[in-house]
């Protein structure tokens, strides 16, 4: 309320209007500046006492810069980070994500099953995930085409983002053909060779592919298939990728990791830590909003590279989702999707104070 009335008096005064980060409301003016103890840029770098400048829903500038005249200023005694980007998610309801008609549903577009009012979507937003890839279920060999959506406002970043291919024991299931892994791979290979429609786009590298492969030998075979056809691919769900770096690093495919829950085994934590210490591109999948960042935290504690793990939550996810030109970092020209944290995002004692999407307060803050 105070901020709004002050804003009305804005025009000629040169003094910037200042509001405290805790009770900042959605800025009504064209230009907003946020000064925070630490600004995480999302690519591993951070700026202390930095300033983030937004204009009309986009980031105009970020750095150790002057607050421009006429800007509505938010002073935040905490950290600011880009909104997280999930490179794979189960945000579409289970009943809508998997059509059991056929094992190959390249024409199915998951976006038509998305309900933005679902609790899971609001929980994701509240956990700092501002954009997510909507994926089909993994029980079809080709589940369909993913889409990338913002968790607030329902804006589509990409409507036909990836071809989702599932090469694991869930897709080689006994309900229908193919029941065997061998046949599943052979069928996908055959379609990629024939190169019609979406498969043609995938084979030419125009449409990226998400390959769900969970066990190590499934991952090796999926990666070999991707290499054979020159696919622009990320492996999804290969939680033990960190144990196969000799094989996977030369191939260069990114890994979308399912994350870890608090009771995760030592082996899985060390595998994720090893993955973060490698050169493979990384991103995280959203299956549970509460634990989305938990994997990064546990792996950092297990000796992983904290910067790379944090990047995986933001820019890594955006990169795997194919929307790194829009979200995932605090950089000029990108969307103003960011989160005000009370402390470092990888510190479990930190809380989210507010979440902004397209420069608008989406969660938290003064309500």
């Amino acid at each position: 309320m105070l901020a709004v009335s002050l804003l009305a008096a804005l025009p000629l005064a040169g003094t910037p209007l200042v509001a405290n980060g805790d009770d900042a409301a959605a800025p009504a003016g064209p230009l907003t500046a946020i000064r925070a103890e630490v600004l995480h840029l999302g690519d591993g770098r951070h700026i202390e006492d930095g300033v983030l400048i937004l204009r009309e829903g986009k980031i105009e500038a970020v750095g150790k810069i002057e607050v421009p005249e006429g800007a509505y200023v938010i002073e935040h005694d905490g950290h600011v980070a880009p909104g997280f980007v999930a490179a794979h998610s189960t945000l579409v309801a289970a009943s809508e994500r998997g059509d059991a008609t056929r094992a190959f549903l390249e024409g199915a577009e998951v976006r038509f099953g998305f309900d933005p009012d679902r609790r899971a979507v609001r929980d994701a937003l509240a956990a700092g995930v501002t954009s997510a890839v909507l994926s089909p279920s993994d029980f079809n060999v080709v589940g369909g085409q993913t889409a990338v959506v913002k968790t607030h406002g329902g804006e589509w970043l990409q409507e036909q983002a990836h071809l989702f291919v599932s090469l694991n024991s869930n897709s080689a299931n006994s309900n229908r053909y193919p029941t065997s892994f061998q046949a599943a791979i052979a069928e996908v290979a055959q379609r990629l060779t024939a190169g019609e429609g979406v498969y043609g786009k995938a084979a030419q590298g125009q449409m990226p592919v998400l390959l769900a492969a969970y066990d190590k030998q499934e991952a090796v075979r999926a990666a070999q298939l991707a290499q054979q056809f020159g696919l622009k691919a990320n492996l999804v769900g290969t939680t033990l990728a960190g144990e196969m770096l000799e094989t996977l690093e030369p191939m260069g495919f990114g890994i979308v990791h399912n994350g870890l829950a608090t009771g995760a085994t030592r082996r899985s934590r060390h595998a994720l830590a090893a993955l973060s210490n490698s050169k493979l591109p990384m991103a995280f999948a959203l299956t549970n909003a509460d634990t989305f960042r938990m994997g990064a935290v546990l792996a950092a504690r297990a000796g992983g590279d904290a910067k790379r793990l944090f990047t995986a939550l933001c820019h890594g996810g955006a990169d795997a989702a194919g929307v790194a030109d829009r979200v995932g970092r605090l950089a000029g020209g990108l969307d103003a999707d960011f989160v005000l944290w009370s402390g470092h995002p990888l510190d479990l004692t930190s809380r989210i104070e507010s979440v902004y999407v397209n420069g608008e307060l989406a969660h938290g803050g003064a309500q």
Binding site: S169, T179, S180, F181, Q182, I185, D215, K216, Q217, T247
Partner: protein, 413 residues
């Protein structure tokens, strides 16, 4: 002083140690040579299997192969009670599971087990540590004809390429109840899923097997167009590929042999043939080789409860039937492959045949005897090191060498 061998070091050393001399190209010696260290192991007895037992002998290995065998110490730095070739199991039943068998059809000869081989499985490592260096990979027996089996080494780098000995080495099929289990007739309202189909009985299993070969013969004559799996069935009919059928009980063994005789299939291997002792004449006449299931204190084997007699191996030896023993990938040390020869000897088989049954005989059955199965100069350096004499219950496996690498060191605890 000799030091222990290390294949990984060899592989890493080659590129860095190279001294390329382009002038020396008129010889076929490369001047880029890796450092080849070698190792020797001595034993109270060295069982070559293909030849004599050497009392107080040694085996020397280098570059992953056996380079010398003989009496004496050989400069060895490891000494054990006995050395045998690494053990070979043709029926370890270690498969990645039901998603390696294509159940949309009951006869899928073209599906390859090697494509589903999981080198990361701890079960291969367990086999290796109890002396099994070479093993067969097959799809589970849910189909009447499941596909092509392969042979791999149980250790080494965790990739298919590094472990493969031979892909597509036999066509796998099964008689008995397993292929029909899971199938059921359609209910009163009609079929509801993939498994509402034939076979649900042994008659159905036999029908599918016969139909597969019948159709293959017809296609071979040109009476129909080629289809997936035809090539493999024709290879079996031509004797280029052995047919390996699981058959445990007497009637299943008979069915398998009738199938062989009807279609003139030259090479038949019976897997899990617990009741082989009940049909001696048929077996001899058929010329089939046999893989026996593990000896069982209860008598009933895991293959449809076929009764595994203690003197099964002894009887087959007497008949001159080629037989191999199997440990079924067991966890229990009293059931693993290395102890099976002791049971066979207890049942009356000779030590020679019992040891051959876990080494050279399975190698010969699959045509791999040029590489594995016996201790001969030039063969793969796969050794099993024992604390006693194989064939005795008190003997255990204390060391294993695979591809020249000492994987289990008898000197460490």
């Amino acid at each position: 002083m000799l030091s222990t061998c290390f294949l990984p070091f060899v592989a890493a050393a080659v590129p860095t140690l190279g001294i390329v001399d382009n002038e020396a190209s008129d010889t076929n010696w490369t001047t880029e040579f890796p450092v080849l260290e070698s190792m020797a192991i001595a034993a109270d007895r060295v069982y070559t299997v293909s030849g004599d037992v050497i009392e107080d002998g040694f085996v020397r290995i280098q570059g992953g192969k056996i380079v010398a065998i003989g009496p004496g110490d050989g400069g060895a730095d490891i000494r054990v009670a006995a050395i045998t070739p690494g053990l070979i199991d043709l029926s370890p039943k270690i498969s990645p599971g039901l998603d390696s068998v294509e159940q949309v059809a009951e006869s899928t000869p073209h599906i390859r087990a090697i494509d589903a081989f999981n080198p990361f499985s701890y079960r291969w490592d367990r086999e290796l540590r109890s002396g099994v260096t070479t093993a067969m990979v097959a799809v589970p027996d849910r189909n009447v004809i499941g596909g092509l089996s392969a042979v791999v080494k149980t250790g080494g780098p965790e990739t298919v390429e590094d472990r493969l000995v031979s892909a597509d080495v036999a066509l796998r099929g099964a008689m008995g109840s397993e292929p029909s289990s899971g199938n059921r007739p359609a209910g009163s309202r009609g079929p509801t899923g993939l498994f509402n189909r034939r076979p649900t009985t042994r008659m159905g299993v036999e029908w599918i097997a016969r139909k597969s070969f019948y159709d293959a013969l017809a296609a071979k004559r040109g009476d129909s167009a080629p289809y997936p799996g035809l090539e493999q069935l024709v290879s079996v009919l031509n004797g280029e590929l052995p047919l390996m059928l699981k058959a445990g009980t007497t009637q299943d063994i008979r069915t398998a042999i009738y199938l062989k005789e009807e279609f003139g299939i030259p090479e038949l291997i019976l897997d899990g043939a617990a009741e082989a002792w009940k049909e001696p004449e048929m077996l001899v006449r058929s010329g089939a080789s046999v893989v026996l299931p593990p000896f069982s204190w209860e008598g009933r084997s895991d293959t449809d409860g076929g009764f595994m007699a203690w003197n099964n191996a002894a009887l087959l030896e007497e008949l001159g039937v080629s037989f191999a023993l199997s440990g079924r990938g067991a966890n229990n040390h009293d059931e693993r492959l290395y102890v099976q020869p002791a049971y066979a000897v207890r049942g009356g088989a000779s030590r020679k045949a019992a040891l051959a049954a876990v080494t050279l005989t399975p190698a010969r059955i699959l045509g791999l005897a040029d590489r594995v199965g016996s201790l001969e100069v030039g063969k793969d350096a796969d050794l099993c090191l024992w604390s006693g004499q194989p064939g005795e219950f008190t003997a255990g496996v204390v060391g294993v060498v695979l591809n020249g690498e000492l994987v289990v060191d008898p000197r460490s605890e």
